[in-house]
């Protein structure tokens, strides 16, 4: 068991897996260069498809139940996919700026109310990435010259 935002979370239990008809479980933990550990739990059904509507759940020790992450942080649950995409995109950014850029962009994602607005933000961020990288790198080259 690991602590996450004051709540204990762990892998989904065997009975829950049987109830969902989900056999394998894929757990990926990404630090995203921010130093924070973020749990991404993804259940796969017997056909290899993701049990998409399960989402991320947290184990609440007080009630002894699995609760949707929305109960604790509504925006965080909706954002997990966008945030992961940002993580991948951030790899193009020079190391010196990466963590700050990621933290900033992820913070704005949480402020955006709808899935559509988050998708638009994400696409625009990714499309603007080459230009941003160019500006950052051009300055790095000048500094090193």
């Amino acid at each position: 068991m690991e602590a996450h935002d004051g709540i204990e979370w762990s892998l989904i239990g065997e009975s829950e897996l049987q109830r969902l008809g989900a056999i394998p479980i894929l757990v990926s933990v990404s630090t995203c260069g921010t130093g924070q550990t973020e749990p991404f739990l993804e259940l796969l059904n017997s056909d290899g498809g993701s049990v998409a509507d399960f989402g991320l759940r947290l184990w609440d020790d007080k009630t002894g139940t699995w609760n949707p992450v929305e109960d604790y942080a509504p925006a965080a649950a909706n954002n997990s996919r966008s945030r992961r995409s940002l993580c991948y995109a951030s790899r193009f950014i020079p190391t010196c700026e990466r963590a700050d850029w990621l933290e900033e962009q992820q913070a704005y994602l949480l402020d955006l109310p709808t899935r559509w607005s988050r998708a638009r933000w994400l696409i625009s961020a990714i499309l603007g990435l080459p230009r941003l990288v160019l500006v950052i790198r051009s300055e790095l080259r000048k500094e090193s010259a």
């Binding site: 900033e104 992820q106 913070a107 704005y108 949480l110 625009s124 990714i126 230009r131 941003l132 300055e139």
Partner: protein, 122 residues
């Protein structure tokens, strides 16, 4: 340091960061504290893919500076901290000059003269 090109987008962002409102009023709080990235995109109408490279260029030119909101404020609000962008004193001075030049240029009549049919200028 290379001065930034005064494109329309640059002018828009500088006007906002100078605290100039559409009705001609001024918002001194913006000039003093700046705005965070998302608010800047909302006010400027620029997509973030355009805005952030532009902010980075202005920052490299020394016109704007950025800072993280204090943890106390973000914790109190229950959200991650935001990054603010504000004009430096140099940036505020130069931006005001450049924008004044542009608006003066825009209001000045064009210096063309149309040749008259008899060969002289109209």
């Amino acid at each position: 340091m290379k001065e930034p090109r005064m494109t329309e987008h640059t002018q828009t962002v500088l006007r906002i960061l100078l605290g100039r409102l559409n009705d001609g009023e001024r918002d001194p709080a913006v000039l003093q504290h700046g705005l965070y990235g998302l608010e800047l995109t909302r006010r400027s109408g620029l997509p973030n893919g355009t805005l952030f490279p532009l902010l980075e260029r202005l920052r490299k030119a020394g016109w704007i500076e950025r800072y993280w909101e204090s943890d106390d404020i973000s914790e109190q609000a229950g959200r991650p901290r935001r990054r603010f962008y504000k004009l430096t004193s140099k940036g505020a001075e130069l931006a005001a000059i450049e924008l004044a030049k542009i608006s003066a240029g825009a209001s000045k009549p064009l210096g063309f003269t149309r040749p008259a049919p008899d060969g002289g200028d109209v």
